[in-house]
């Protein structure tokens, strides 16, 4: 019910605002919401924090750029291509690192995203170096049309990941977070579940990366730096750890907030990070999910 209102608001806002710029803002909001939801599926449920989601996003985005701009393939090929590449990257990162415990997984993911960024800069013959790759086609011609396409992808992402999170698969992921050793003692092959879940998370992050590349019609290494990885994590924390839709709403709200603060000029980021610190200090279980529970009278959404 409340979800339908939320989706209605998201669908109605850009045409009502009737402004090309704001439509662009909403497109970015929806794409970042896809990233936040995908991050929260793996890291929020298993407690293994992925600090390198920019690797999967960038993998998807660069695949789109190679397919569409370099090889001249139809723009729609970017979607399956970007997803496959992101999944492969998820498997490559997951196999060696998901056996690591504690901060090692986080550091390994952080490093692998940094490596990809350097590779993108150094292999300039293919990637255009720090200039990146330009000239991608749009997937949908009108901005509003593209917004609705991205919004539909976001809804599908939240729906699919939420269904899995509430299935037996999701129960096992939460058990891994609860105590991984005990999960093995309960007969669960935790490595298989972790790797499969990271690959699924990577698939949606990469899909979001494809949408981002075709929206900007360009990719540069700077788009996929460590700040992207961290801002996605912040979105999930603000939304509510482990909640797929909460992370998506968190992503939208944070991006809108950043936009509303634009009037503050150079103080914008200062105020933004102050708000974040207040949230993370005083609202440890996030903002979106607890607020929703209160508004809907204690029922979990």
């Amino acid at each position: 019910m409340g979800g339908a209102v939320l989706v209605g608001l998201l669908a109605a806002a850009p045409p009502l605002l009737h402004n090309q710029y704001f439509t662009g803002v909403f497109i970015v909001c929806a794409i970042e919401a896809i990233w936040a939801a995908s991050w929260n599926f793996f890291s929020g449920l298993t407690g293994r924090e992925n600090f390198g989601t920019a690797l999967f996003i960038g993998g998807g985005a660069y695949t789109a750029a190679f397919f569409n701009s370099t090889f001249g393939l139809n723009a729609w090929w970017s979607i399956p291509g970007g997803i496959v590449v992101a999944v492969v990257l998820g498997l490559v990162v997951g196999f060696p690192t998901l056996r690591l415990k504690g901060p090692y997984f986080a550091l390994a993911t952080l490093a692998s995203a940094a490596i990809m960024q350097q590779v993108a800069i150094n292999l300039w013959q293919y990637t255009g170096g720090s200039e990146g790759i330009y000239g991608l086609d749009r997937l949908v011609d009108s901005s509003l049309g593209y917004y609705y396409f991205v919004l539909a992808v976001l809804l599908a992402t939240v729906l699919v990941l939420s269904l899995i999170a509430h299935s037996r698969w999701g129960t096992i992921l939460r058990a891994i977070k609860g105590d991984e050793t005990a999960c093995q003692a309960a007969g669960i092959n935790v490595t298989v579940y972790k790797i499969a879940s990271l690959a699924l998370s990577a698939a949606f992050a990469g899909l979001g990366g494809v949408l981002f590349a075709h929206y900007q019609q360009a990719v540069t290494p700077d788009d996929f730096d460590v700040f992207l990885s961290i801002s996605v994590i912040i979105m999930a924390y603000v939304g509510g750890i482990g909640s797929i839709w909460g992370a998506a709403v968190g992503g939208i709200l944070l991006n809108l907030m950043l936009e509303l603060l634009r009037g503050m000029g150079e103080y914008r980021l200062l105020v933004y990070y102050l708000i974040l610190m207040v949230v993370l200090f005083f609202m440890r279980s996030g903002v979106v999910v607890p607020l929703w529970r209160r508004l809907s009278g204690g029922r979990s959404a």
Binding site: T171, R174, G178, D179, T181, Q184, A185, A186, G187, N189
Partner: protein, 245 residues
């Protein structure tokens, strides 16, 4: 009775210290056996070797003739060996019911549509049915022990390994747990191996005791004989700080 578990020459060293040294024994199907010994005798290391949480240096362990030593922990569970931990390890952030659900999701448990009923039955069995929706993080220690046993049962084990199930329990909690273990043995025919360093609980429960000290088996026999065994007495009295409680 046929042998369910055969252990031969099992050895584990930690940088110079031999935690488990040339340990051999067999467990008959349907038997309740105790592993007795002071702290540091190698009891928990033995459990960790048998459940795949530690790799062994030498020796063999076979469940119904099938080697389990090189297998991963989850594989061993799915062959029919479940365990509990000395310090309870619940799935934090989940409810009592969900904790048992995870055990039912082990491939060996082979639960399809009957999951809810199976979970209810297990919670009933271990006496936690009335707390099924409580988060485990507010559960008293005695209940966590029962929950650990319930989660292990959910995997449908043939052999249940209990690591000091009475540690940290109040006097009033021990007797019901002894009865629960007896009931599991009687009604489900479970083979049970229990670690304990106190003698009193053992006497009521086990039909056979494997006494260990410094990583070695020093005696195997009936409880009444074990408590009179000079080597066993020495291993306890020689270490007054551990004491026979």
């Amino acid at each position: 009775m046929s042998a369910l578990l055969e252990v031969e020459g099992l050895t584990k060293r930690f940088s110079g210290v031999t935690a488990v040294k040339d340990v051999s024994f067999t467990l008959a199907a349907g038997e309740i056996t105790g592993v007795l010994g002071p702290n540091g005798a190698g009891k928990t290391t033995l459990f960790n070797l048998l459940t795949g949480f530690l790799p062994s240096d030498h020796g063999a362990a076979r469940l119904e003739g099938r080697s389990i030593l090189r297998a991963a922990p989850h594989t061993i569970v799915n062959l029919g060996v479940a365990r509990t931990f000395q310090l309870c390890r619940p799935f934090h952030g989940m409810t009592v019911r969900e904790n048992v659900v995870v055990g039912c999701l082990a491939p060996r448990a082979q639960i399809g549509a009957g999951l809810e009923q199976r979970v209810s039955d297990i919670l009933e069995e271990v006496g936690l049915a009335h707390k099924s929706e409580q988060p485990v993080d507010i559960l008293p220690y005695g209940d966590l022990r029962r929950l650990e046993i319930g989660r292990a049962l959910a995997t449908r084990p043939k052999l249940l390994l209990l690591d000091e199930p009475f540690a940290g329990l109040g006097a009033g909690e021990i007797e019901p747990l002894v009865q629960l273990i007896h009931r599991l043995h009687d009604t489900q025919g479970l083979t049970i191996l229990i670690i304990e360093h106190k003698l009193r609980e053992f006497m009521q429960l086990v039909s056979r005791v494997i006494a260990m000290d410094f990583g070695e088996i020093i005696a195997i026999g009936e409880p009444a004989d074990i408590v009179r065994n000079p080597l066993v007495i020495e291993s306890y009295i020689g270490k007054a700080d551990h004491g026979v409680a």
